[in-house]
Symmetry: C2
Subunit: 331 residues, 2 copies
């Protein structure tokens, strides 16, 4: 029985550890922003070791991310492993449910206790993934899922966030996505641990794979961006494989899973796993601290002070930097 | 002659006001992050009134944003107006120059003093547009361009940023962009002042226009998101028009310009212009203030303190919220 009000967090955590979907879902609700029990849940989860392999999956709209996630879930279940899925849509700050159609496809796993799927439609104030995502991930880790898949549309900041959160990042591409694919590829070259060329049964798939190989050659030795993200694939000798799939037909999924497992082993043997987890925690702490500063900022100065400063700037009496200084001094 | 070192900012501003491209370009270089003259330039620009009509142009990769911008620039020049263009690519934090091919297309305006075009490839640490963009916009306003076009890929936070910066937001769509267009549309419904259905000579353009009209009907009365952005189209009676263009052929561009001018007149007559400018200044001040807090944060606590806190979180000795509190207390 789930009580509203003062729930027994320890009991929820215990039941989540037994893969009881209702308890997992309830804990995720309790870590949502402004939840009064957020801190209590976070404290309870902190003590539990995170042994899950966290797989991030990103890519442009239309490449078949959800289909690939669903096929991966099926393959993981067939190999006897439990899977938690967080499907995050950061493309809109206003409208939830845009990916409803995709979610419905995943209902084939409904009723299987070894699978938990949660959509998080909201996104953070600062772009990128919402602050709930790292905490929801902690809930699934506490629940002890063998593998956790975080799926998100690969746009802007969310792409970077998933690279901070996941142990293994899959970047999904597909043929025939128009001119824009070049721009997308450029940004994701350095966050991928594994490239997935989906819809490989369609014309142009070989071209995408060839382009990727070409960009890998060009990108060799320029991994400063990846290092800034706490990733060190290039330096530690992980060569990013390219796996072709036709996820809707289930083709290539076994290969993909093999590469994911191989990357997981590499993470442990190379010591990269600890470094990535360390970086993930640092990113999370910094985000929480800055969020707290924002909140204090809003409480102390209020919209009125900001609005008055803005009036001065519009009137040409003040430049925005001096205005920001004044607002900060008032804090 | 452009001197390095201690330049005469007042003189640069004067020459920028005469549309001297070299002076405009130099001022934009001086407002880049960490420039020692950033504050001096900002102070000099603050006193100059912004009389430009700021037009934001956004949309998914491949819809023809650059072609539309280029066609708009030609139409504005034909009507005797000067135009500044800021082309921002926030899709990648690592790689500049992804839109190089697009930029080359715009070279048809090279050598025309009434046109200034600048690409800003970098993006901000927090996703979205980089902190330079509002300042670069101020430079172009100080230079007195009649119209300023800010073009950006419509992904994530950058989309919201452009809505905060521009007086008039054009959202460009095109037929045949795959399944993802539904998700994109949902997010942009509320930031558009004018919809542009480009590639209108292709099959499916009528369908896109029909979808837009349908979503406008559904979205009526739910403008809380738009209001949060300081936009009040819905409440003040601006009905978002849908303009069909084939920008590469120059078709529909006169219609588009007419709608942009009509929106400009509406902004003034309704009083919305001042409210939008006020909101833009407030957003800018808040962003600068938060950036300063981030910088102080990095200076005072340093990566070492954060790293130590992260170690505790990884070891399960501390939850990330308590860690954030400790780091903040140490500040």
């Amino acid at each position: 029985v789930v009580r509203s009000g003062n729930e027994d967090v320890a009991d929820l955590v215990r039941r989540a550890g037994e893969h009881q979907s209702a308890a997992v879902a309830r804990l995720i609700s309790l870590i949502e922003r402004d939840s009064p029990q957020l801190r209590e849940v976070a404290a309870a989860l902190a003590r539990l070791p995170g042994r899950s392999h966290v797989v991030g999956l990103t890519g442009s709209p239309g490449v078949g991310k959800s289909t690939t996630t669903s096929a991966l879930v099926a393959a993981l279940r067939a190999s006897g492993r439990s899977v938690g899925v967080l499907a995050v849509d950061p493309s809109s700050p206003f409208t939830g449910g845009a990916l409803l159609g995709d979610r419905i496809r995943m209902q084939e796993h409904a009723g299987d206790d070894g699978v938990f799927i949660r959509s998080l439609a909201s996104r953070g104030q600062l772009g990128g993934l919402s602050a709930e995502v790292p905490q929801a991930l902690r809930v699934l880790e506490a629940a002890g899922f063998d593998v956790i898949v975080i799926e998100t549309v690969g746009v802007g900041q969310a792409e970077l966030d998933i690279a901070s959160l996941a142990d293994t990042v899959l970047v999904v591409l597909a043929p025939g996505m128009g001119d824009g694919i070049q721009a997308v590829k450029a940004g994701i070259l350095e966050i991928a641990d594994i490239y997935v060329v989906n819809k490989a049964d369609r014309e142009g798939a070989d071209l995408v794979a060839r382009d990727l190989r070409h960009m890998q050659t060009l990108g060799a030795g320029t991994s400063s961006g990846a290092q800034a993200l706490g990733r060190d694939s290039a330096t530690a000798g992980w060569e990013v494989p390219i796996v072709k799939t036709a996820s809707s037909e289930g083709q290539g999924i076994d290969d993909l899973l093999e590469q994911i497992d191989r990357h997981g082993e590499w993470l442990t043997s190379s010591g990269s796993l600890h470094r990535r987890r360390q970086h993930r925690a640092a990113t999370e702490i910094e985000a929480i601290a800055l969020g707290e500063v924002r909140a204090r900022f809003a409480r102390s100065t209020g919209p009125a002070a900001l609005s008055a400063a803005a009036d001065h700037v519009v009137a040409g009496a003040l430049d925005p930097f001096s205005a920001a200084e004044q607002v900060l001094d008032a804090l």
